[in-house]
């Protein structure tokens, strides 16, 4: 087993933890954290393949992609957080209810 494989397997696990969190977590914040964890898993898999494909240096393309991806994910998470806080501020709700 090579290093990259450890991380690529981990990435799958993280992805699944994240997706499970999105499905099962109730609090807004936790759901948002779950998306970030999910994203972390995805990025980990990118970078693990970059390491696999390293020659003189690791494959720079996945690195660049991941940097871009992280920023995008953070922007999304920030927006989600803003929405969650606004909802809480307006209604005191911190979880989804079915009728809204």
């Amino acid at each position: 087993m090579e290093t990259y494989q450890i991380y690529s397997l981990t990435s799958a696990i993280l992805f699944i933890i994240g997706i499970g969190g999105i499905f099962m977590a109730r609090h807004f914040i936790k759901k948002i954290i779950a998306t970030v964890i999910m994203g972390g898993g995805v990025f980990l898999s990118f970078v693990s393949f970059a390491q696999r494909d390293a020659i003189t240096f690791a494959d720079p393309v996945p690195h660049a992609l991941v940097i871009t991806g992280i920023v995008v994910a953070v922007a999304s998470a920030a927006l989600a957080l803003a929405l969650a806080r606004r909802i809480y501020q307006l209604t005191g709700e911190e979880t989804f209810t079915n009728d809204k």
Binding site: Y7, I33, F49, V66, I67, L81, A82, Q89, L90
Partner: protein, 327 residues
């Protein structure tokens, strides 16, 4: 040996991730998220992705973690008002737990199957070879020496440009979500004398370190995003210290700072098109310079956007009284 480290790291990460989601207390969850982010950064380092590690630590763990922490203070008080038992302040509301058991069992089952299939897919992945070779071959033409920067700002500059747009867009979204009134005066905060001292000390250091990262990005790990987070930290600190810079400067300037990264990038691209090239096809001779300018302006814009995002979120509950609750 090193494999063992990696395995340990992986286990820790998985544990942190699971704990982060399972812990009933929100504050714990946020701190575990910090830890997870650091773990992830370590993993990047282990995988030789220093740029990613810095970005992760700075933005994903750092900036986002700060946002979460900030959110905690907003979520906390109301819970305490609502509930008598202080023990339960940070506990998640639990309603009709019984009705949740069956779906959860199914979900866990599904997750397990999914995991199994995903692991198989990851394990069985053929070696695609990546693009290292072509990146290496084209690196000299890119104007920079660090391959990641070359990819980010030259080979796939389009993605990066859009990504700067996404951050701006995120800010706009936060404006919208936070109520429009906040947009008018971002970051109006109460002064805090203690903080002000700290800020006075830290600001130049952060600025210089950011500039260093930006510059080093040309040849090694570092670059616009990392620098931007550091500079963004300045903004956040200033904000916390009662110096909401964006409330102090004229609006047009604020907008200019916000948009100049994106705008310059784009205008440059249009000029290149007008010159008969394609979008972001830098003249090889000026590539390095142009990339540096873009990085700098981009970093400033991103920093401004991050600051503004934080400021808005931080501000949110202070507006509570002014906003009439709508149904």
């Amino acid at each position: 040996m090193s494999i063992l480290i990696d395995i340990l790291l992986a286990i820790i990460m998985v544990y942190l991730a699971i704990q982060c989601l399972l812990t009933p207390r929100l504050i714990q969850s946020v701190f575990l998220f910090f830890a997870f982010g650091l773990g992830l950064a370590l993993a990047w380092v282990r995988l030789g992705a220093i740029d990613v590690a810095i970005t992760e630590a700075a933005i994903a763990a750092g900036f986002l973690g700060v946002l979460f922490l900030d959110a905690l203070k907003s979520f906390a008080p109301k819970v305490s008002v609502k509930q008598d038992n202080l023990e339960d302040i940070y506990k998640l509301p639990r309603r009709n737990i019984k009705s949740l058991i069956l779906p959860r069992v199914i979900l866990v089952l599904g997750l397990a199957l999914f995991l199994f299939i995903a692991l198989e897919a990851v394990w069985m992945i053929p070696d695609g070879g990546g693009l290292t070779a072509s990146a290496e071959a084209l690196l000299p033409q890119s104007g920079v020496e660090h391959p990641v920067t070359a990819v980010l700002l030259n080979f796939r500059a389009y993605d990066t440009w859009l990504e700067i747009g996404v951050i701006l867009l995120g800010l706009l979204g936060v404006f919208v979500a936070g109520g429009i009134k906040l947009y008018k005066k971002p970051g109006a905060s109460k002064p805090d004398p203690m903080l002000r001292q700290v800020i006075l000390f830290v600001t130049p250091v952060l600025f210089l370190f950011g500039a260093f990262l930006l510059y080093i990005g040309k040849t090694g790990p570092g670059g616009a995003f990392q620098a931007a987070v550091l500079w963004g930290a300045i903004g956040i600190l200033l904000h916390l210290g009662g110096k909401p810079i964006f409330a102090m400067i004229p609006r047009w300037l604020f907008h200019l700072i916000l948009t100049m990264g994106l705008g310059f990038f784009l205008v440059l691209g249009f000029l290149l098109i007008a010159d008969g090239r394609t979008l972001f096809e830098y003249p090889p001779a000026y590539a390095g310079l142009l990339i540096l300018i873009i990085e700098t302006l981009g970093a400033i814009s991103i920093a401004a956007a991050l600051t503004a995002i934080y400021a808005n979120l931080n501000q949110m509950e202070e507006e509570t009284n002014e906003v009439e609750p709508t149904t």
